[in-house]
Amino acid sequence: MSALGDIYSVFWVDLRNMRRHWKATIATSLVLPLLYLVAFGYGLGRGVNVGDLDYLSFVIPGIVGLTAFSTSFNGAASKLHVDKFFYKSFDELLMSPVRSHSIIIGKSLIGVVRGFISAIAIYLVGLILAPTLLFSPIFFLMLLLSCFVFSLFGVLIALVVHTHHGMGNFTTLVILPMTFLCGTFFSLDQLPAVAKAVLYFLPLTHSANLLRATVLGLSFPWLSFAGLLIFGVVFFIGCMVSLKRSSV
């Protein structure tokens, strides 16, 4: 069977699962971003400007990015974590003829779907609040790329973290700070050079740059595009190495 067929087979079971719980899955992933949107965008940020932009237009792409980030990461990581440690069904995949690269991509796709749907929902709400936002195909492409990279990140963490507590700790110590710090709610230009440099080593920073530029019609940030692609490749290689090491 082709790699595409294998990827779909791996994805099929997660999709089937999601179809059974799709309302709750989507609804729960929207609560926090909508609260951010109301509190920071519509509440605190009213009348504030970031450069030439009003704060609402600035913050909406950031919140779309963090929604894509957290939902894609959690969507891919939590399902794989459950498969590995609770259902023990991940071993079935490892014992099957499906190749490692198909397993990794297949397991990431549920995160892509969940992240993309949630982020689009936030974007549509954002369109109502800030009609200046653009409806551009390149924005959707960048959103899709972001969701894929964040899902691969989720798969990687689910592969290398071996306890339920470990997953919780990682989310609290790494994922949550990233959602606030990576240029989602404020411009990185306000930060000292060192802090700015550190934040450019995080994938959400590049995603937020790309989404903001494409939805507001700013010049395309090629550096962030390359940065996000590099993160994707690094996460994918990390997943391959982790799968290989798990059989040692």
């Binding site: 067929g5 791996v10 099929w12 079971v13 259902y87 014992m95 003829p97 059989s247």
Partner: protein, 287 residues
């Protein structure tokens, strides 16, 4: 007869810990092979190596006639594995789990439909096909696990503790299923803590201890080797002592000469558990 499992000096180390120590094992095509051993003997690691989940440190392994190192894809196509713990997706139905397993085993759409229908009938689960896994009884869940592992018609089926947690009736029904599968041509490699299970099901039994296979033979031969008759003695309700004899006459003479402080004496035919204790110095299931 062809060996469906063949290992030569198989070793597996985790750092300085040796889990498998020069294991030489052969499982013949068509047999039910019982793999016994106390906890920590290396059974699970051996199964992980044989089912491609763990790579050996050294030694040669072939499964289904294929080298596990060079022909891993072929090995994966000829084995079916039923893990000790339920490994089905509990958010899906029996049919959906089967569909998933058939897909990852590369069965075509028409073949998937045909095999799922056939196997559901084979294990009498047709009326439960669209039930969620968590609504099934323990025995049915185990049957569902087994049919998921049979979709691609494996030559060799690994059953890791297949009846653990099942009631006596469900266990016996599962034994019948294992016998039927074997009769229909599937070679079976089984681990169990239930000695009775190994005794009634297995053509041959191997006992593993400290990473090595210490004996392999037919259950009757193993019993004969340790002694057909066993005398159990208990002094002051402390440890039970076992003494093995070739026949009942010698055993009776031994009992007659026992000191008077021995209050409890049982003379009986030996079983596989006695073989196990004699060979490993441990009872089955001892930590």
């Amino acid at each position: 007869m062809q060996d469906y499992i063949y290992t030569e000096n198989l070793c597996k180390n985790y750092g300085s810990v040796t889990a498998i120590n020069n294991l030489n094992l052969n499982v013949r095509a068509g047999e039910i092979f019982g793999f016994l051993g106390p906890n920590g003997a290396g059974k699970t690691t051996t199964i992980r190596v044989l089912t491609t989940l763990t790579r050996p440190t050294s030694g040669y392994v072939s499964v289904g006639g294929y080298d596990i190192h060079d022909e891993i894809d072929k090995v994966k196509k000829v084995i079916g594995v039923v893990q000790q713990h339920l490994s089905l997706d509990r958010d899906l139905t029996v049919r959906e789990n089967m569909e998933f397993h058939a897909r990852i085993q590369h069965l075509s759409s028409s073949k998937r439909k045909q095999r799922i229908t056939e196997l559901l009938e084979y294990v009498e689960l047709t009326e439960y096909a669209d039930k969620m896994i968590d609504t099934l009884s323990g025995g049915m869940k185990k049957k569902a696990s087994i049919v998921c592992s049979l979709l691609h018609e494996p030559k060799l089926l690994f059953l890791d503790e297949p009846t653990v947690g099942l009631d006596a009736q469900a266990r016996r029904r599962l034994w019948d299923l294992v016998r039927r599968l074997n009769k229909d041509g599937t070679t079976i490699f089984l681990t169990t803590h239930y000695i009775e299970e190994a005794e009634v099901l297995c053509d041959r039994v191997g006992i593993m201890h400290h990473g090595q296979l210490i004996v392999v033979d037919e259950p009757a031969n193993l019993r004969e080797k340790v002694g057909s008759i066993v005398v159990e003695t208990l002094v002051d309700n402390k440890d039970t002592h076992y003494q093995f004899f070739a026949n009942r006459e010698v055993a009776t003479n031994y009992v007659k000469n026992l000191p008077s402080e021995v209050k409890t004496v049982i003379i009986r035919e030996s079983n596989l558990e006695d073989v196990f204790i004699e060979q490993t110095g441990e009872k089955v299931g001892d930590p």
